[in-house]
Amino acid sequence: MAGLELLSDQGYRLDGRKASELRKVQARMGVFGQADGSAYMEQGNTKALAVVYGPHEVRGSRSKSLHDRAVINCQYSMATFSTAERKRRPHGDRKSSEMSLHLKQTFEAAVLTQLYPRSQIDIYVKILQSDGGNYSACVNAATLALVDAGIPMRDYVCACTAGFAEGTALADLCHAEETGGGTALSLALLPRSQSIALVQMDARLHQDHLDTLMEAAMEACKGLSKVLDSVVRQHLQEVSVLSRD
């Protein structure tokens, strides 16, 4: 079989999207009753659950606590059935540890941690189904969960990936596009200030292309932020209707 054609001459991608189009995004806040905040996020076939506990006292050894701000504690894991080939363990491997660290860094940049000295905020994310852009789905889900938990943030954190094919930047890659060659860039953006909370790219890319790629990723993040915002507003409306009764 010939390799995949990531972008057809007519400008359509493998799944029928155009270069700058996002996958279908669906999200819901407050999926769980027990946690302080929770959210579920779908970006195409990538599905993530995020749960937030806290702020609460620092668990375990007190030495971890910081006197001027809250500790952000993240754990990323993947359901063993989330990938095409079954994973042997949900977390603890190098990749999930790295992902946990990235999430921690991302949210340290966004949460107003100085409001909660000597406390801890737990963010647990779980990938239920993986189809590319795991990191971004996790960030977006965690943002909603944080909002659900009522933890103050500078801004929504929106994350998205972008890749490159035939000299065109593609937004929000699916798994086939991520593995189909070329470069993938993950970017987490605070849309209002246009500042970048995290950017990561593992493959080689010629410098000339970096700008277009970043541009595409940022555009995609802005698109996502609109979706997240509408999800939050809708959730608030539902909740307020319920509480009025």
Binding site: D9, D15, G16, E21, L22, C174, L205, H206, D208, G223
Partner: protein
Amino acid sequence: MLKSKTFVKKTRSGGVLKIVREHYLRDDIWCGSEVCTECKDDSPVLQRDAFIQSRLCTYPHYLIPDTNVVLHQIDILEDPVMRNVVILQTVLQEVRHRSAPVYKRIKDAIHEKEKHFYTFTNEHHRETFVEREQGESANDRNDRAIRVAALWYNQHLRKAPCAGELRVVLLTNDQANKEKATEDGLLAYRCEEYIKSLIGNPELVDRLALTSNEQNEITGGRVLFPEHLPLSRIQTGIKNGTFLQGTFRANRDNYLEATVFVHGEGEDGTEVLLQGLQNLNRAVHQDIVAVELFPRERWAAPSAAVLEDDHANDEDAEEEEAEKLESPALETSMLKPTGRVVGIIKRNWRPFCGMLTQSQIKEATRHLFTPADRHIPRIRIETRQASALVGHRIIVAIDGWPRNSRYPNGHFVRNLGGAGDKETETEVLLLEHDVPHQPFSKAVLSFLPRMPWAITEEDLKVRADLRHLCVCSVDPPGCTDIDDALHCRELDNGNLEVGVHIADVSHFIRPGNALDQEAANRGTTVYLCGKRIDMVPELLSSDLCSLRSNVDRLAFSCVWEMNRNAEIIRTHFTKSVINSKASLTYAEAQMRIDDATMNDDITNSLRGLNALAKILKGRRIEKGALTLSSPEVRFHMDSETHDPIDLQTKELKDTNSMVEEFMLLANISVAQKIYEEFSECALLRKHPAPPLSNYDILVKAAKSRDLEIHTDSAKALADSLNAAVLGGFPYFNTLLRILATRCMMQAIYFCSGMDSDFRHYGLASPIYTHFTSPIRRYSDIIVHRLLAVAINADGTYPDLMDKHKQSTLCNNLNYRHKMAQYAQRASVAFHTQLFFKNKGILNEEGFILFVRKNAIIILIAKFGLEGTVFFKNKGKPGPKLSFDSEGPSLTVEDQHTFHMFDKVKVTVTLDASNIQHQKIRMALVEPVIAGVSVAWPEPAAKKPKLDR
């Protein structure tokens, strides 16, 4: 933002993995027709007035071909008559999976504006997407998708207010599909049906590929060949070792025999012998096939016989085949693994050049076509213009080879012209060697600089102005694409400054544009006798880039400071502007150097260069560089008819090697620099050391003259070649070097990030590249770009830094270079034939270059011409031969023993009995062997000019 409305999931099991992909359906995919008012297409592709005159469709119509029509009738679709065709995405994807070459061709057709081919992305259109149903095969689903899309077009166009009678017509050769389409109310025709109905273009019918339906009519039901196994069975067999996979190589001289080269692990591969049409089982040269080995007792030895498939009539020749196969040799040592083809893994058919053998029945429309390439079997084609095509070179494509047909079926593609015509033959050899030679397209030419062109102020600002230097170029006579120029002057400190100035082609050819892509594809300029196929348009090659004398030209200069011992003290690269003071030929330059009375700047510069070159050459040879030799000939062309009137071997002067020496030095300096700067993506050239066994023949040959050749290192080889001189036989050393050349490997381009062995064996250099001929080699353009980045004279671009892309490029360049060489040789051979055509029979002296079992190969030094004297002729009992492979020597009739390098006299004639394969025939005159040698012919009345 997100335009997708609904989506369906598509699951696909690969292995046992369940893979889920999203599939978005859209509402914004346009139909692409001019008449449509509903779609918001800015530039519709399909014309309002889609009119091909057809008896079946008397109204304007768009054509929708199904996958098989595209795959098999691409020759028809490519014809300019065929316009306004809708290529469905379903079809395009299937074609992509099934045939890469056809995919490329259909894509080219789609890109061509005048063809009005439109790709309709039906798989993502909300109304034309179909989901596979229970019990439906993938093929059936695709057929249904095609019908649904066609139906959609019909309904969609009917809504357009001014569509008039515009209809869509489905072309399909599948009976079931056609019936279903008609049921659905679609217009569906078989491709043949439709093409035959065309009023204005009856000649298209000839180009129809024969499809399976018709094959049955051709040769009754008789099955001649065993069935090919399905791919899954083949793969299983290969995995468990019952079958072997390899490349099928037909025997040129015996159509009943072939070998399959099985790629083994590492270097070695095995060859499997195949004999008999049944066992060859419809494989064609270069196909990838699966073979099954016979048990040892059925192994056979390759037969030495020459068998040409020359039946006048095509039908059913197989009864004779059995007896033609010689009885197996009894010597067990001669037996080779033997087997049969069980299946074809990949066909490697291409269009073939050749000639038509007209059927003896006058009104017949089926004829046999004989390809020029003798590896390829004859092909049966159907044509009504046979009488017009006889004696012409034509191109034919194979469509298939059914089990009940003695020959593959094909169709006529193009007529090249009369056989033997110089133009036609040149065209043939360009096509057969896959040399791109069409005129440059408008798109390519649009990237040429506007005339009048002049060097601008900006150019001068960023370039070193070297116009004051006394630069000159030295080239062969008649050279118009001057790549390189040189200068040499004394510096104040007593050292010498030497400059090599190379045409700055990369200034004009910017990365990625059409001009660049075209040049990258061509890879090299191809020099044929009397014709040059340029890599870049003439404006660049012969004017703006060519470093002609007395005009300002942009150059890329490599300037060294050297001491008198030719040791480099400093190397400097710069983009520059030069003004050559003289364009000299090798001979002119040599005359200046030799003429003591001349003392001008140019001459002094040349003398300085010459002196340094000698030192450099000495040092290089010291290190073990090889000086090899090949008999090169030049034709003197008649200036009006362009017919060759004389030929002479190339003469080497000091100045040749002077220029060469500095080019080598520049190439090495540049190679070092770009590798230093870009260790991952430097484009370099290497020449691997040949395996020692390659030298066997050379060592044996020298031994027969009591000389020893050492082959353990390049240096040892060079030294022993130098020492191998025979008194009274001055040409002996050259002959040895010619032999040595044949032992060598091909030098190749490669990307430094993809390989670890960089050595150039022949030049004895640890690193090497090509920098000095950017006008005629694309490799040099890349090297120029890399060097320009290294010295901050230019920016990089993504593909330049991508080692995989560069590696792909290298593969193409290597391929093009190889093919260019072959084409060049073929051109020389053709012109040699032209030359001898008018000469009648010539008597010449030559040397034996090789001794074979039944022949000797003779080199006539004067013409650089090689020919074979056979001692056995087809069908005639030959003389008694005894061959000694150690010598190697051949004794004929116990009278005379031939050794390598023996001097012999032969007659040379042109054998034009087979118009497609004219060849030079040689016959032995001296030594005289009764029954073998021929008598001196009558001295020609008109002495050939050549003997002067």
